[in-house]
Amino acid sequence: MTSLFINDQEVEVTPGTSILEACRQNDFDVPYFCYHPELSVAANCRMCLVEVEGWPKPAASCCTPVSEGMKVKTQTESLKKDRQMVMEYLLIHHPLDCPVCDQGGSCKLQDYALDHGASKGRYAEPKRAVVNYELGPFVNTCMTRCIHCTRCVRFADEVAGTGDIGILNRSDHMSIAGIVEEALESELSGNLPDICPVGALLDKPSHDVSRPWEMSHHKSTCTQCPNGCDIHIESRGDEVMRIRPIAGSPEPWICDRGRYVYDAFRSDARILEPAVRRDGELQSVGWDEAFDRVVSLLKDKRVGILFSPDWSVEGHTAIRMMRDTLFPDAKVAFDLHRRDMRPFAFEEGLSMTTAQIEAADQVVVLGSDLRQRLPLLMQRLRKRGHAGKPVSRIGAMNYRTNMEISNDAIIRPRDWPAVIARAMEQVRDLGKTAAGFDAWLAAVPARHEAGKILADALMAESCALLVGEEIRSDNDAAALISGLDLLMRACGHAETGSDGRNLIPEGMSAQILSSVFADVRVSAGDLFAAAGAGELDAIVVVGSDPLGDGLFPTAATAALDKVPLIQIGSIAGRIGERAEVQLPAAAYSETEGTFVNMEGRVRVATNPIRSLGQERPLWKVMMRLVQVMGGEVPVVSLDELRAAIVARVPELAGAWSATEQDKLLLAPRRNRTSSFTPSKQKHAFDLDVVSRYSMYREGMWVRASKLLSEAAMLHCLDDLLVHPDTLAEAGLQPGEMVVRSFLGETACHVGVREDVSPGVLFVSRRGVAGALSDLDVASLAGGQS
């Protein structure tokens, strides 16, 4: 530790800390504009000057490291004058439009002008006006207000990885601008208004709508992806105005999906009242009437239950209780992307924290569009890349990452066994092996060179494997994961403390779900197949949209043609059109609840915003359902429910104590005995189908959001993509053609892109492409444009 004196008070900080950080850590107020703890240091605003004893000039504290015994003064007459002058310099060209500027009230420039500025400016010459530029659907620019701190430039370079904001010109003609007059490509663009210290970059969707001081803040957890970021939902009255990250939480940023989904909270797609279908139309009714219909549809019936992982742990447990009380034989599904339900050697969830992944010697991403799936984990990998650490990747598509991937291979999903086998042979040759290698290798005839990338990375001291949706949704996923498990064990990456086996889950609370529902879980596909085959009488869907999301829209349609649908949830989605009864359940902004993210981190939302309509917390809806169906109500209060949760998941005992909560880290489930070898491959069609998860299109909340739907239009690709060689081999030209699959023939438009692996049919607009989402293999024919 280095000890130094700040304003005559001795403090200790880690060697190499900047003076500014030392001041921040010890609550000495030093003003600054350009410094940001998550970005590189620019040292250009010159607001953070301090005096160091024995130095001839004041030092910029942000870029000056501390040294032993240094004597720092943060408040002197001379510094006061310096700060006053910096404020005067900054304000000479800054417009005096605070009354109409959204930043007003939470503006560093405004605050510092009051704290450090003079009462009047002396600038008497013409002021500068600066041309605005286009920065995408979420960011409003007013560049005349810019103070050139370059935080946005550094954000685009270092965090977003897009590098498309830069500095033009010099002297007082200097301006910040988009390098190309196009939308900022980043999925993190919504953070720009947050880091802009002034009103130059403002949130476009909430522009000219509200004032910072009108907002009340509700701490919550974003459930739009398994990363489960801490968020502040800001509302004016009952109306959600915006969502922002919480300073000091594990991730300083949030993605555009989690941020701009807020307009879905008050969209037309919300289910705010109970409704029943009469003469083909959904009509609002009272709770009693709706429940009467539910009873008539469910009483003594064979029922299938599908729900979304994004509910709180309380909601999930209530669903389980409802099932056990009313339908003890019911099949339950909660995952729209898993075809293989055999237990995985390592189940969904991360064994490492994202910080540990960032720090690992090697990271290998297997079959995941991480930037769309987990934008904040992608951002951490980017940070890793900046620090010179490698990131390797194997997958069906050269997904955009905005970083330099060190080792990259594109493969067909049917090559996964050959990739893993190749890696097994390589590590075995280097003396690392595990019982089970021989059987696994014997089951796989082929070898694929991409396995070298995997094997090379496994030789490192620590290696984080990020197993993504391409493997998780495979028909033979349990065997692939078993193979990866063997590899990790052979190379010593499976021990407690250095477990690198991370399976990216579909949604929140995967650790809880895979244990609470382990015994009754089926694939959503199986559920729909059972309904289609007449084995079920009704389907209850709780907050999930199998028609719009996932891999089973065709199967779901067929099932709903046969059996009635009872929908419970916050958003109607596509499936709402098929519902016989709709019951409103509170959204994640409106409920007290417990959430577990992919790392196993526990968060409890405690001050929800008020409900907009008649929606009730999911657990209450479930208990009421039990009651009206004549069952014995298992719990009647949140406390009782939480006691019931702890009975099932003892690790959660400390979840509701503020001091214990942060210490909890739920490990994902392991199935040591689950060992499977790949089955013999026989494919009816020559192309593997991989469908893309788009953060702007996947999920019923997102589709209910106008803002994100608009962004989706900017980020869309052709419906179907193949590698040019795939078409050339088949003697086809891009354009209209026929996709043949087990569903028959479908006419589609197919585009080409070199990023897709040869032999893969890439469904880039899942949902929009409708039936094709169900496919895992297909072939192309005919069609000339």
């Binding site: 040292a43 000057l49 002058m85 910096v86 002396r122 007082d172």
Partner: protein
């Protein structure tokens, strides 16, 4: 030939400058170029060279006057990264035109100095960053480098010594700020020339974040003489702590403006009267800017001050790059200041708040002062804005921009006031 008796040394860098065609390798070699190089490469160790440089007392000729040997000794060894040697030939300081003469008349002197410096620092790749406007100088340098490569003075295994060094000329694009060493590095990396904050210093993290030494042309051109005659020899020239000779670029109201290399310690008066043919009008100058436009002004009071780093500091200014701008009583100092303010406002890189906003502001006020359209408060603003700019920014451009304003206000307050308020005669 440079005399081996230090007492007799009159010039070092300009020793061969008057010899016709000395820019060609054949003529340069006939007059001693590269003669001592094989000895250095074969018999000297890196440590010995650095020691000789330290002993010589040579201080950087680019402006800051930092001891060259000390600078070289800061370069970490065995970092696993390459070390780079960059020659700063971005001679942009208003009033300075000395490096240009070394490059266009005696390019082999610079090349030889760079090989020796490169050898001492274990450099494989060295660059000369030439000011964009110096097209002719860049051409001469390139031709000399071509000849040197052909003669195995550059490239692989120089003269069979086992040491290899490559030398490349890079032309800047005319930005004054690229003469600041970290801006030069940024520019050479292909980025806009904006100075970096320090630490880390270039010696540790410079060009491509590798250890880097940036030296001025004149500094590097002095190296061959020091190594040939020894550090002690060089230390005996000039005055203690200000050793060797220095080229002064004299411009302004003198009868014979030009470059003059003289031993350190020569007085300003001697230089102007004995070398430059005296002043055009009057017997003492009204203002002398001793080290390029960024240094504070001197007046008649310091006419006899010695031209040394220490002497100039004592007189309240700096030796800088040795660009002496002489103004006699006919000079319109307010117009000069306004013009300099325009220069700095134009050349500010725009990074730091005080410089970006301050330089433009100062220029706009100076325009009104010059035209007699200012008010009393403006003079206070000039003083405040300049004072709180200097020393508060990443690089020293703001200090340079403040110097003329503050000097003008210090030495000629009444004249400024009268002119500003429109009351001048």
């Amino acid at each position: 030939m440079i005399p081996s008796d230090p007492k007799q040394v009159k010039q070092i860098c300009f020793d061969r400058i008057d010899i016709p065609d000395v820019n060609t390798l054949a003529v340069a070699r006939k007059h001693g170029a590269y003669a001592f190089l094989p000895t250095v490469l074969k018999e000297f160790t890196a440590a010995k060279i650095v020691d000789e440089m330290k002993l010589s007392g040579l201080r950087g000729r680019g402006g800051a006057g930092f001891p060259t040997g000390l600078k070289w000794s800061f370069v970490p060894r065995n970092t696993g990264k390459p070390t780079y040697l960059l020659c700063n030939a971005d001679e942009g300081e208003p009033g300075t035109f000395k490096d240009r003469d070394i490059m266009r008349f005696d390019p082999h002197l610079l090349i030889e100095g760079m090989i020796m410096a490169g050898f001492a620092l274990n450099v494989r790749d060295a660059y000369i960053y030439v000011r964009g406007e110096f097209l002719h100088e860049a051409n001469v340098m390139n031709e000399a480098i071509r000849e040197a490569y052909a003669a195995n003075l550059l490239g692989e295994n120089i003269l069979g010594s086992g040491y290899s060094m490559h030398l490349t000329v890079h032309r800047g694009a005319g930005a004054y700020i690229c003469g600041e060493e970290t801006a030069l590095i940024e520019s050479l990396e292909g980025k806009p020339g904006r100075p970096r904050f320090k630490p880390p210093f270039p010696a540790v993290e410079g060009f491509y974040r590798c250890p880097t030494v940036v030296n001025n042309v004149e500094t590097l051109a002095t190296v061959p003489a020091i190594l040939e005659h020894g550090g002690a020899w060089h230390a005996a020239i000039g005055v203690p702590n200000n050793t060797g000779c220095k080229i002064f670029s004299v411009s302004g109201h003198v009868n014979k403006p030009g470059n003059y290399e003289v031993p350190m310690g020569t007085s300003l008066k001697t230089l102007i009267e004995e070398y430059c043919g005296g002043l055009q009008h009057g017997s003492v100058p009204k203002v002398v800017i001793p080290g390029g436009s960024s240094t504070p002004w001197l007046t008649a009071e310091h006419y006899e001050a010695p031209l040394t780093y220490d002497g100039m500091i004592k007189a309240g200014s700096m030796l800088g790059s040795g660009a002496i701008i002489v103004m006699d009583e006919t000079a319109d100092l307010i117009a000069v200041t306004r013009r300099l303010a325009h220069f700095y406002a134009h050349e500010s890189c725009g990074q730091c708040t005080p410089c970006r906003e301050g330089t433009g502001w100062l220029e706009r006020i100076m325009i009104r002062v010059e035209n007699g359209q200012a008010c009393a408060e403006d003079i206070q603003v000039l003083s405040d804005a300049a004072t709180h700019m200097a020393g508060r920014t990443i690089c020293a451009l703001a200090d340079g921009a403040a110097a003329p304003i503050l000097s003008m206000l210090k030495h000629f307050p009444d004249e400024v006031r009268a002119r500003a308020l429109g009351k001048a005669a």
